[in-house]
């Protein structure tokens, strides 16, 4: 039995806080802002929702670990709440689980809420939890992705200039996005001359640590039609997990991220997509580092292995290109509050499909792809959303 999820579940409301250094707000404040915005967008009350999925990665000083964080912030009591944590794929996976519950008929209308407060933490970057005290001592996100990037750059003869072009593109898009963490353009020279974080990544090759929350209200396509909503449905979904310790795994060759290849294959199959680069209108992909976007475009089948640099250099992934990638500014500019990021991608896709994206609007947006990549390339979740034509 391999029943397709295609067109069974609709997104009827989305909301998103401003992303950034939200020093004056706590996690609950962000949850209330995103959830009430999504409810207002959908035209439903919080009390009308039957269940909620909370996506948070890292429990902080003020909650985030358990479902009670959402229950208390929204007084969402007496109903099922599930917390999802799946590395940086937390947001998309929370959405995916909610979609399956709605598709099953068990839940009529669900809230998906991704929220993360990273800036209150005493550590720089992401808190490391549950890692081996010796074998993985001191690992950092830039360090992990730099291992993969250096191998890739050595294999394909790629220079830092190719990585910098992703930063230039995604900063240009972020400059058009009033909710983005960074809203300024950068030049290739600025990117290349920035202080190094983990070679080959300089400061502008890295996404920031960000506070933010995003929410989506989902229900069955029939319910959405009955409510008279413009129909934006889930076309396909996929999730795949690979080793979380490629640096200890002798079978890992560091050629692309198989998790992305497998998750996208699942989603394409469900959506009936044969030729992604022709059939997908735009994509929000996981550019945690500039190089990651290059390899993502290959793993998602937008171009062949090793052609990611040319794909960006030839302008195919700009807002006016043949397959705009990260028209929102991506993690690079929009920011990366881990658990919120995947839900923020759903917010962006719905906004684009409704043609409400203003100066960053993609032309003829019919199918949008959201992609998260978690851990050291270990977990990938891919979502495809489309509008009724």
């Amino acid at each position: 039995m391999d029943a397709s999820i295609r067109d069974k579940v609709a997104v009827i409301g989305v909301g998103c806080t401003k992303f950034g250094d939200l020093f004056d707000q706590n996690l609950a404040d962000l949850m209330v802002e995103a959830a009430t915005a999504a409810c207002a967008d959908a035209g439903v009350g919080l009390d009308e929702l039957n269940a909620a999925w909370l996506g948070t990665f890292s429990p902080g000083m003020n909650g985030g670990k358990a479902t009670i964080t959402l229950a208390d912030a929204l007084r969402f009591h007496g109903r099922p709440i599930t917390r999802v944590e799946n590395y940086c794929a937390t947001g998309t996976d929370a959405f995916r689980n909610a979609v399956m519950a709605v598709a099953s008929g068990q839940v009529k209308m669900a809230l998906v809420l991704g929220a993360e407060k990273l800036k209150d933490r005493p550590v720089r970057g992401l808190q490391r939890e549950g890692i081996h005290p010796l074998l993985e001592y001191g690992t950092t996100a830039p360090g992990m992705f730099a291992l993969a990037a250096n191998r890739y750059m050595n294999t394909y003869g790629v220079k830092r200039e190719s990585l910098a072009k992703v930063a230039v593109k995604n900063h240009a898009a972020g400059a058009l996005n009033p909710k983005a963490h960074f809203q300024m353009k950068v030049t290739e020279e600025q990117v290349l001359k920035a202080p190094l974080i983990a070679y080959p990544f300089g400061l502008f090759d890295c996404c920031p640590t960000t506070d933010g929350a995003a929410a989506a209200i989902i229900c069955s396509a029939e319910t959405a039609r009955a409510l008279g909503k413009p129909l934006i449905t889930v076309k396909g979904m996929g999730l795949a997990v690979r080793t979380g310790k490629p640096f200890l795994d002798p079978t890992c060759d560091y050629r692309g991220f198989p998790a992305t290849q497998e998750a996208s294959a699942q989603a394409y199959k469900a959506a009936g997509i044969k030729n992604p680069v022709e059939e997908i209108s735009f994509a929000e992909v996981h550019d945690c580092f500039t190089w990651t976007e290059l390899t993502n475009t290959e793993d998602l089948g937008f171009c062949k292995a090793g052609e990611g640099p040319r794909f960006v250099e030839e302008g195919h992934s700009t807002i006016g290109g043949k397959l705009p990638v990260n028209p929102s500014g991506g993690l690079k500019s929009f920011g990366h509050p881990v658990g919120a990021t995947g839900v923020r991608m759903v917010y962006e896709i719905v906004t684009q499909l409704r043609e409400q994206a203003g100066p960053r609007q993609v032309k003829n947006a019919r199918i949008g792809l959201a992609h998260n990549l978690g851990g050291p390339g270990a977990v990938s979740c891919v979502l495809l959303l489309g509008r009724d034509t």
Binding site: R124, G125, P133, L134, L135, E136, Y137, G138, T139, T140, P142, G143, M144, A146, L147, A148, N150, R151, N154, P195, L196, I197, A198, Y199, T243, K245, P246, F247, L248, D249, P250, T251, Y254
Partner: protein
């Protein structure tokens, strides 16, 4: 015949110029350089490095015993030799003991190893001596102490140098002292110390051995003497009727005074230069003095130490500032005591983390470091076996990370594919991080990683393959 069957020196890759120290205090420089440990090295890691190099030139690459000697042992309660033996993956039957508290501790370990072999209790007992002594900041001794280790194996077959005589005198004399509450050595340096603490005791020990072996000074090819400073040993040799050419260089100019490692280290350097049929006299001071006379055999001509004194003396990276040199000595002491582990976890993972044994699949031959009951390649579970992993390999990929916890960022981190299979993720040390590249051949080296839970935590790092 009982004598030396293997030897190795372990000199840290780093040096500090005495000019650098003198400039920091606006004082007089004694010239030359000191051997300086990196922030992640201590007497245990240096001894482990020397013992490992010594072990791999022994037949069967195994030893019957491992003795550790130091005045700067990282553990005051917990057998340091036991931990070194585990890093060397030696079996539980290995004789282990710590020798401590005296500059002669290295010589004591060598003597105990000789006794064990002579008594027929053991074969090829390694005595590993190391010191990383700390002088008070700004004190004269700051320009004296260098860090180093040496390991010497004693056995009864394939002997490179036979032990002809040994013996010494004990003297509870105040020369250098460090109480249980002190971080730094208190030195009673004076003319009296030079006479009674050094010359008198050394002369007594040397004469006793010469008489025992019935040898005259002219018959000694190499006179290997510890020395508290630049020239005390030369004056002593002259007084005892030796010519300057007979006296082994103490490496004062390149390494400094290397504590309890000094006699073993200089003996290793003498053996590297010696030819078969030579008499070597080694003597060391500290709470009295001890000595030993050896005669090199034909076996010596065919012996190559894995890590020679001469090569390590030449290869050196320099701390260019006093602050960095000092920081490297204090860094781990100042570290957060945060990594708490249970002894259950430690014991369960000892073969993996300490002995560096991995798992091999009998079906497809895939090896991995992590102890997992399922093959990562063919997913079978019925033929997984524990195997020792090679301690050499090459860099598969790397990152030069500014955020990795270190006193001197950036840190070069590498994914290393070990020769024969297995993969490890570790820091690349003793080289410029910017010089690390894919394919670089490396060897594993045990280092201090972190502090916590009342323990020093050690783990593997790698360095460019040296020789």
């Amino acid at each position: 015949m009982i004598g030396i069957t293997a030897f190795a020196a372990a000199i840290p890759a780093y040096r500090v110029a005495r000019d650098t120290i003198a400039a920091a205090w606006e004082t007089r420089s004694l010239g030359g350089r000191l051997a300086a440990h990196r922030f992640d090295e201590d007497s245990l890691t240096l001894a482990a490095s020397a013992a490992a190099d010594c072990l791999c030139t022994l037949p069967g690459k195994t030893a019957g015993g491992l003795y550790f000697a130091s005045t700067t042992a990282p553990f005051l309660e917990r057998l340091n030799a036991g931990l070194v033996a585990a890093f060397l993956d030696l079996p539980a039957e290995t004789r282990t003991a710590d020798f401590a508290n005296s500059l002669r501790a290295g010589l004591f370990a060598l003597g105990a190893a000789t006794d064990a072999v002579a008594a027929g209790r053991s074969e090829n007992v390694i005595a590993a001596a190391a010191d990383t002594r700390n002088a008070p900041a700004g004190g004269d001794e700051e320009q004296f102490y260098g860090d180093a280790a040496a390991a010497i194996a004693i056995g009864s077959t394939n002997v490179l140098a036979e032990i002809i005589s040994r013996g010494g005198i004990s003297d509870d004399f105040l020369e250098t002292v460090r109480r249980d509450r002190d971080d730094y050595v208190t030195s009673f340096a004076s003319k009296f110390t030079a006479e009674r603490g050094y010359a008198h005791s050394m002369a007594a020990a040397i004469r006793r051995n010469m008489q025992q072996a019935k040898l005259e000074p002219a018959q000694i090819s190499r006179l290997v003497l510890s020395s508290p400073d630049k020239g005390a040993h030369l004056a002593l040799a002259k007084k005892l009727g030796f010519q300057p050419a007979q006296v082994q260089d103490t490496a004062w100019d390149q390494l400094g005074v290397t504590g309890t490692a000094m006699p073993l280290l200089l003996l290793a350097s003498a053996l590297e230069q010696a030819k078969p049929g030579e008499y070597i006299l080694v003597a060391a001071h500290g709470d009295g003095a001890g000595a030993m006379i050896l005669r090199t055999t034909e076996e010596l001509a065919g012996y190559r130490p894995r890590a020679s004194f001469a090569q390590q003396l030449a290869s050196a990276i320099e701390f260019r500032s006093y602050t960095k040199w000092r920081k490297s000595r204090d860094y781990l002491r100042e570290q957060d005591d945060t990594l708490e582990v249970s002894n259950i976890w430690y014991a369960k993972e000892e073969t993996q983390n300490v002995r560096l044994r991995g798992m091999e699949c009998g079906h497809c031959g895939t090896r991995q470091l992590q102890h997992q009951l399922l093959c990562p390649k063919c997913h079978k579970t019925d033929a997984i076996q524990e195997v020792p992993l090679a301690r050499t390999g090459s860099v598969f990929t790397f990152a030069v990370d500014q955020l990795f916890p270190s006193p001197f960022p950036p840190t070069a981190m590498a994914v290393v594919d070990l020769d024969g299979g297995g993969r490890i993720y570790c820091e690349v040390v003793d080289c410029d991080p910017d010089k690390v590249q894919i394919g670089l051949p490396v060897e594993l080296t045990i280092r201090r990683l972190k502090e916590g839970g009342g323990l020093h935590h050690y783990y593997w790092k790698c360095r460019p393959k040296r020789f």
